[in-house]
């Protein structure tokens, strides 16, 4: 049932990558429990604007949990405490009247703060550029049914392919590692026959690029799996490790 609650927000404010940040306190009043977390921030921002203050900058776009552009750390948890949920799909019915909520940007060496809660995640694009594709030009592909793909293989590939590239795995990892992100793409393509020819080169290049960009190593903390809004499994990391070692042995 719809009801309204009052909240205290402690929000990270930072003017730019080189500036020092700070927590500011705001009061969010008469928040409907049917609102999403981002709609709650909209209401706060509207009030800030009317009061002549600068609204809180935060990234968002599709607001249906698929584009991967939104994401903040809410009370210490990327995308908040609900399992398998992006911030835009986190609803206020999971909060209680009188709660205090701390809201911070995703923090990692490879992610610079742009402003307030918005961060630069272009490093994730660079990892994909290092090999997260099948090298096939447009045109000339054979008939789509020419190569059979067992259903269970297609399903496993799809499980990995669901990654939305939000960076919550990096933000949740004590080492700020991007292993879950990288392994999801490596797995998807290594599982499918179309991606197999480049599997070894892909694993090596993507991992190397990840290291160069300042992401940390994986030390099996499993925080990434717990916080991933698409519930991508760390078995993908095991699969990446296998591809990586295989590549080392046979190259």
């Amino acid at each position: 049932m719809t009801k309204t609650i009052n909240l205290t927000l402690k929000v990270w404010r930072q003017n730019g990558p080189k500036n020092k940040g700070r927590f500011d306190t705001y009061h969010a009043e008469n928040i409907s429990t049917d609102m999403s977390f981002l709609e709650m921030l909209d209401v706060v921002n509207d009030q800030l604007t009317i009061d002549g203050k600068e609204p809180i900058a935060f990234d968002h776009d599709c607001r249906e949990g698929i584009c991967g552009q939104c994401g903040c750390v809410v009370n210490g948890r990327p995308h908040g405490a609900e399992k398998g949920t992006t911030l835009c799909q986190l609803h206020m019915r999971h909060f209680d009247n009188g709660d205090t909520i701390a809201i911070e940007p995703f923090r990692a060496m490879a992610f610079n703060v742009i402003k307030d809660l918005a961060v630069d995640r272009s490093a994730l694009d660079k990892i994909i550029q290092a090999g997260g594709y099948v090298s096939v030009n447009t045109g000339g592909a054979q008939d789509a049914n020419a190569i059979l793909v067992p259903q269970e293989v297609a399903d496993l590939a799809m499980d990995a392919a669901q990654c939305i590239g939000c960076g919550a795995c990096v933000a949740s990892c004590p080492n700020a590692s991007a292993m879950l992100f990288t392994s999801a793409k490596v797995s998807q393509l290594a599982l499918l026959p179309q991606g197999k020819p480049e599997a070894a080169k892909r694993a090596i290049n993507m991992v190397r690029t990840m290291d160069e960009l300042g992401f940390g190593n994986c030390s099996n903390e499993r925080e990434c799996e717990a916080e991933c809004p698409k519930e991508i499994s760390i078995t993908n990391i095991a699969r990446l490790n296998r591809e990586y070692f295989k590549a080392g042995f046979f190259s």
Binding site: D46, T49, D59, C67, Q69, Q129, Q162
Partner: protein, 637 residues
């Protein structure tokens, strides 16, 4: 100005082959001498950028998101059509072509639609080769399902995330070309003007959304893949940043805007539940494969769905349209939902909803089978509404989803401005007055992978190369105009927020230019929009400053354009004195309340030319000639 669609001659099945032969080519060594700008990285922009770069062109690609992977094509759920006929159920290129022309209520250009159906099969081949994990059956072959307006299963899908997987395929091809140095990627840029030199599109002016810098980029051709304008209604299934600005700026520079009043209302969305709501969420049309739509038979029946026995339920789509049942096209399903709610049979707290019930399907196939097909959609529904669709029917209501109108283009996908190409949802050509489900993904990828890469060569090879730099005075003028507008927005310092204006505009558009329209309402709405626009420029408040990451300023620019564009939609809706597809004027309906076309007077695309601020736009007509299908009253009974 005469509108020449440049449709090749000959039988429809041979037009595209013939045209590809007749098009001039740019030889492989010369391609690297040409620079092409692509704006937008959805299915159309992503696929076009990657393919042009593979061919050897130098590509500069721009997007407003922080990464090209986030364009709103990613949110398409259900699937992509192709005429593969893998299920052996009688599909063919001709049938896909016919279904699409009929589904669009005979207001699309025949030759374009036929080409779309022809290349649909190549798209599936290409996407599989890229490693897209489409759904497979037990033998490892690709699986298909059905969508509205078709009686065959021709829709390929990747769970409920088909758009995501196709977009990530195009994105990965794009990233490969970035790594190869053939594409230069500019994320977090918003296009604010197109620059013309001697009448040809030669560049764009963009705002860097991180630091507010206004930047100039020159090229030999400009390709707009900037999506639709559904957010003119404020509440829609579009992403928050989806806008009309790029297309509208091109319109102001002389590109014609075609059929702006053709908007699609999607029948299965989660109903509106509060004034704070920022967007609407679609529940895929694929759900209508297994879900049954119903309302209580008696108006005002307040019992819970479980308490209403079969005898007191009205499965109105199945009863009214026995051959297509729950899978009638979107415009028909939407209007019928509205009709039921108008009769007082709507359900839920607001009475603005109907049920979509899976109980029979779960009983028939088991919960596991249904979960496998729609699991993520059911989960999304539960997250938003806190209701479990495995236990109780979903509640759905129509919402703005897609816009068939867009910049006018010829058969080459070039607008009337030479060198300015428009792809995907941003153009007008393929869906007529109503788009069938799973056809948007098909069109975006057809345009980007298989049409533009040929036709742009024809333009570049057939036009004298003029090397324009960003120092050209046309860039000076354009930048001056862009900066002037930004400064003006920042200096108003009024009392109402940008969103407040946007919401008011959205309510006007939904009320008077939404699912049903009438001449009196449209006339009234036009005045209301003019007043609102005047107030906007006096009373909007844009906080912060322009040389900064300023999301209020971004939105202010977009809403300013929507406030002008909304009026153009109304002008178009008033000029089209008939009903067709998604454009339903209450004066023109059949006895069975279906859209009543007037083929004698309105069998054309209406293309509007900007003729100066405050002046009536000038009307141009492209007559639609149907040589291969017979115009009939659409019937899905």
């Amino acid at each position: 100005m005469a509108l020449d669609a440049k449709i090749p001659g000959g039988p429809i099945a041979e037009k595209w082959d013939r045209h590809r032969f007749e098009l001039k080519l740019v030889n492989p060594a010369n391609k690297r001498k040409f620079n092409v700008i692509v704006v937008g990285t959805g299915l159309a922009g992503g696929s076009a950028s990657a393919t042009l770069a593979e061919l050897g062109y130098n590509v500069k690609t721009f997007c407003i998101q922080d990464s090209p992977r986030r364009a709103h094509s990613i949110a398409a759920q259900g699937g992509i059509n192709a005429a593969k006929n893998y299920p052996n159920d009688g599909d063919s290129i001709w049938r896909l072509f016919y279904d699409t022309v009929k589904g669009g209520d005979f207001r699309a250009r025949e030759a374009n639609v036929y080409r779309l159906a022809q290349v649909s099969n190549d798209i599936i081949d290409q996407c599989v080769a890229q490693g897209i994990p489409f759904a497979r059956d037990y033998g490892g072959l690709l699986d298909n399902r059905s969508f509205g307006g078709a009686q065959v299963s021709r829709t390929f899908y990747a769970r409920g995330q088909t758009g995501q997987q196709l977009l990530l395929g195009a994105y990965s091809a794009l990233m490969r070309q970035v790594a190869a140095g053939k594409v230069q990627m500019f994320p977090r840029r918003e296009m604010l003007d197109v620059v013309l030199v001697d009448g040809h599109a030669k560049g764009i002016v963009v705002r860097n959304m991180i630091n507010g810098a206004v930047e100039r980029h020159a090229a030999d051709a400009v390709v707009l893949c900037t999506g639709g304008y559904g957010n003119v209604f404020f509440l829609s299934t579009n992403a928050m940043a989806s806008n009309v600005t790029a297309a509208f700026r091109a319109y102001k520079k002389g590109a014609f805007f075609a059929n702006p009043c053709f908007t699609q209302i999607h029948p299965t969305c989660i109903p509106v539940h509060g004034t704070f709501q920022s967007k609407l969420t679609l529940m895929s049309e694929s759900l209508r494969n297994d879900g049954r739509v119903w309302v209580p038979k008696n108006p005002g029946d307040k019992r819970t769905p479980e308490q209403i026995p079969e005898a007191d339920r009205d499965y109105y789509l199945e009863n009214k349209y026995p051959s297509f049942g729950n899978l009638v096209p979107r415009d028909v399903a939407s209007r019928n939902a509205k009709e039921q709610c108008d009769m007082g049979k709507g359900v839920g707290e607001t009475g603005q909803a109907v049920y979509l019930d899976f109980a029979d399907a779960i009983h028939r196939d088991g919960r596991d089978v249904i979960a496998k097909k729609y699991g993520n959609l059911f989960q999304m529904y539960e997250k938003i509404t806190a209701d479990d669709p495995y236990q109780t029917p979903m509640m759905i209501y129509p919402a703005i989803h897609y816009t068939m109108g867009g910049l006018w283009v010829d058969y080459n996908l070039m607008s009337n401005v030479p060198g300015l190409f428009v792809l995907g949802e941003a153009n007008f050509s393929d869906h007529g007055a109503n788009r069938l489900g799973a056809s948007a993904l098909m069109q975006g990828l057809a345009d980007g992978y298989f049409v533009l890469p040929y036709t742009i060569g024809g333009y570049l090879a057939g036009t004298a190369k003029a090397d324009v730099t960003t120092g050209h005075k046309a860039f000076d003028e354009s930048e001056k105009q862009v900066t002037g507008r930004i400064d003006r927005l920042m200096s108003i310092d009024g009392k109402r927020t940008v969103d407040d204006f946007h919401k008011t505009l959205g309510r006007i558009m939904w009320e008077y230019c939404g699912m049903a329209r009438n001449n009196e309402g449209l006339g009234m709405a036009r005045g209301m929009i003019q007043e609102l626009r005047a107030e906007f420029w006096e009373n909007v408040r844009v906080p912060g400053n322009a040389a900064d990451f300023n999301q209020s300023l971004e939105r202010a620019g977009r809403v300013a354009d929507f406030l002008e564009f909304g009026e153009l939609m109304i002008v178009d809706a008033l000029a089209r004195q008939e009903s067709c597809g998604g454009h339903f004027n209450e004066r023109f309906e059949t006895e069975e309340h279906e859209a009543l076309r007037d083929d004698d007077n309105f069998c054309h695309a209406a293309a509007w030319e900007h003729s100066g601020d405050g002046r009536e736009p000038e009307f141009h007509k492209e007559p639609l000639v149907f040589e291969n299908v017979k115009l009939t009253q659409r019937s899905y009974k």
